[in-house]
Symmetry: D3
Subunit: 239 residues, 6 copies
């Protein structure tokens, strides 16, 4: 039995709220159960130095946790003066995942900067962030199209992510904090709507995992991500 | 006529939502119109080094703006590796304001760390933060009492804050961003429920202000803050 | 009785020594009793990025304390690798105060950088710094005029500052360290020669202050600042 | 045809040179073709703060590239004042991989710090580092046993790693720089001698990868890592 | 002819003013012509971690230049967030020079921290700093003796320093800025009262220097430093 | 008797291995006994800002020690976020020494960046680095000539360095770690092939040194450096 009484292949309740704040071109609050992440997508009509004059765009992401989004307070990274290795890993993962579904040449020489800030953490913040950021990027691009700056969307597909893991010997979908802090193997899977893998990151915290377990985890993840695409489509269909 | 069509002495709609997030001992979303600040109060059973072994407690605050809480995206302070002078000024102000109403000896050798994070900015983020943080501290202290760690509350009074300014020659209450970015004089006033001043910070951005204007601004501020105390009391009365 | 045996409305002895060092365009040693601050004004024929090409100038300030300007040694900020929140607050205040009396358009696309370095501290370093820096800026502008780079002075007025506070229940003028470290309310007031307020920053360290106390402090400050303008004028008249 | 004319399932020439430098308890130069990484393991008879007094040990890793280990010079991280996100990701990966095969309780309250410094880079520096570091940790532990500080080795198994990827549509083993900078999918696989997976990190740089491709890559990796274990064993058997 | 019309073996006018500021245990303004450095010596009744519990003391130094002590303004190191390589070289040199004449065991487990801050620079700031700091340390130790904390002085000798160089082919003593910025070889020499060398640091900026030139420079330095000892003794004899 | 049983005027075995790594334009492993330093010279077809458009080139150096190049592990400077004062002193010394023998005007508007990374330390790392870097710069310039970018070499001479010191009262050449950590006076001498001095840096760690000792040390250094030039020439003659 999972701590949350969910079935092994059951996602937490997923909510995607668009236009959560008013200034960003895309602003999405994504909730995977008690995990809540605010994802904003900002259009920046310039590109990083390494892309200047090449006619291609860029999508990048930054990630942060509010100090008391967690059970006990974590030190504020701005006050410590640097971002942790974990923060940097996560924001690089989000950026790569989003770039996998955006045609950067078609985006033109501009940049979409995604900020994923965790308001409340209960496991799976990076996978929720990717799933919500995809919708925020969609909305920001819609603004570019509405403003006549782009004729067609450079988004080639959707992207979503979920965590899976082996908890007390059982492969389970969408780990919450109680499971995440007590599991042997933890895997984050990022996929596109067409069913391709963008990232597979599996880590054995304790006992190494077998090939068979890996297969079971991938199957769980595929099922969960299919539901996340439905949630993204439903959110976009509204309004 | 103010850009928002408010009367000169009219606050924006103020909302105080308690228990906005689940982990912090006190968690308040405060809204002054479109300005939204999440204020959490965390109990830390230790004190900063300069207070160790003295039997007294401490209340401190940190402040941050999410990168896209503003009209155009601001760089993330954690990524830049330092907090701006403005951020430091504001968090010092919030901390001093809260300490003015907490009996630090009665709090015991523990610390309340308040985090004020701006989700959406439309002027007056520091005054909203002080007003919301007061309620968050109240709730955190209530948890200490409920847990039997304190017999009585060390809060001696409430504290609230509002901005006032001279906009197009007219003293007005509770400036929003449109007024704030176009005013001659801007003043932040922090008061206690008993009617004492904790902070008065007036700055002439353009023409210096006269003593008469100063008096008019203080009168406006006193009236506005009285309404904020009512909003704090109403929020606390709800349970 | 004040620790210094001064009357409540009595300034410390104020000395303003021009040309204290030889390289800066303006170089003033200002003394408020035992507080000694070296204020230099440097002309920089460029402006910060946000002003480039706009035809307007800028005045900015930096502040520092020598490590042993204080009773006990403070760590060197350059060695710690960052400026404290207090330092940043003070240098922002000095910059704003000076900009209030300089016509930035008339200054042309150049910058005056003021450095206020405390050689010896005995309370009131920021107010001494503003008072001395005003004369240093005057002298630097005089060099620009003498060099034919400006036809007329862009200084519209003088600016000076003093601290006031409530010490053992009595409002007093120009607090020294002994009073400053033992007072309930501390206020810094910055005014122009024409009698307008540029900044009013009052803080209750202990008991909040009343409106009546605020009025008494402002009256004391106005009287003190009037004497500071006389000292500035006398210094400039020399030589 | 691969740029190096290797078969798809062919490793580069692997060399493991022990005692490459004289001060470290374990010092290994590992070469995967032209990639050369110096891995040292240092015994530290203390542990990080979060483990103090718990009777358990720790294994951690740091990673760096000499500025001209690469085709064009990269800025020195010590001079820039911070480690890149990539560096942090890699050193966290190395540390986790090594901890997977060391019984931290049996190690006792001490720490093994592994430094992996790239002398020459030609792709696969992180997988070479893990493979070499495993031998360095082995040698450092042997010194602890020889010194009578440990009765038996806390190493439960060996660990090795290799990269695999899809280059011009073909799954290949052990990518060199020419392949790495021109491949669609890149995967790093870390396994234990017993055949379990410690880490699987696959990333689509361009087109997402299919489940079938993932399976092919995992099979290649398993074959390659088996050869790496043989190389480790051979190195340890010498002398 | 030297730019200053001095003879080749002529020092600038040297002034040593004790008790220049009031808080430090030793406070000396040293002037070598237009070069003016404030040297304070602070007693700290603790020692750095590497000396704790060893019964020995320490003498260390920090160095800084006020931003406009120079012809054109230099960026403030505290604002840049780090000390330059030049600053660090100089403060390490000052510290080593002072430790050469203090018996650290006899000082007891306490530390003397010397701050050398350049108010006005005209070449030779590091040699002036060493010469002035020696007197400041003397005065700080005298306070320890007067307070009964030391029975006898742990200073074994005096230390002083001067620069020499080859300017337009001629070896000259005590370079000012005009010479320093236009010389081929520059050497700083630190000696003790007994005539021993503590530091000799010669650098060829252009043409390498010959052994004969080196000998000439050392002879000039010895003559100059002998006069500096006289100035130190005279300063200490006063009052 | 020296700890290494060498004669007082005997160098350690010196080895200079060219093309130690493959990417850098010049790559030299230099060994002074057990001290091993990897020196790479990288051509950069740009110059630092202060030289842009002046038609002159630049030679600069950076220095680092691998964390476990030393007897006990030193913290990694990249992880600490700053380079120590010692590191900065050494890299400035290496850069100055190399510039002394390169005609910067003849080099053209390009830069040679030298990286000296210590793989194994046993005293004398900075003098070994200078000696090896000279050969690396030679090789990098040879590549420029071979590529037709320079018609003739801008190197005017060779440069080499050695340490000398007074160990147990005896002047000795080329100190290893055992001597370096137990000597009274330590001097680093940098000379050109023509016999001129580029740098002389002598420091008394304990008792100040006399003029006679200084002369003895310089004589030893000259003899040693003459042998280093022979080693450099022999290395370049090979291949």
């Amino acid at each position: 039995m999972r701590p949350s009484h969910r079935h092994a292949d059951e996602l937490r309740i997923v909510r995607i709220t668009r236009n959560f704040t008013c200034h960003a071109e895309g602003s999405v609050l994504v909730e995977f159960g008690a995990t809540r992440v605010l994802c904003t997508a900002s259009i920046d009509e310039s590109v990083p130095p390494f892309l200047r004059g090449k006619g291609r765009g860029w999508v990048t992401a930054e990630y942060g946790m509010l100090p008391r989004s967690t059970h006990t307070r974590s030190a504020r990274e701005a006050a410590k003066g640097k971002q942790s290795g974990r923060t940097q890993e996560i924001q690089r993962l989000i950026g790569r995942s989003l770039r996998a579904v955006v045609d950067l040449a078609a985006l033109g020489e501009r940049q979409i900067i995604v900020d994923c800030d965790v308001l409340q953490a209960d496991g799976g913040t990076r996978t929720a962030a990717i799933t919500g950021a995809c919708v925020a990027v969609h909305d920001a691009i819609a603004k570019l199209i509405a403003a006549g700056k782009l004729a067609a969307s450079p988004m080639r597909d959707f992207v979503a992510a979920v965590s899976v893991g082996i908890h007390k010997g059982v492969p389970v979908l969408d780990l919450d904090y109680a499971e995440d802090s007590d599991c042997d193997t933890d895997m984050n899977v990022v996929m596109t709507g067409a069913g391709g893998f963008v990232e597979v990151q599996g880590t054995a915290e304790g006992t190494p995992f077998t090939r068979k377990e890996l297969d079971a985890l991938l199957a769980l993840a595929e099922g969960g991500i299919r539901q996340l695409f439905a949630a993204q489509r439903a959110a976009i269909a509204e309004q």
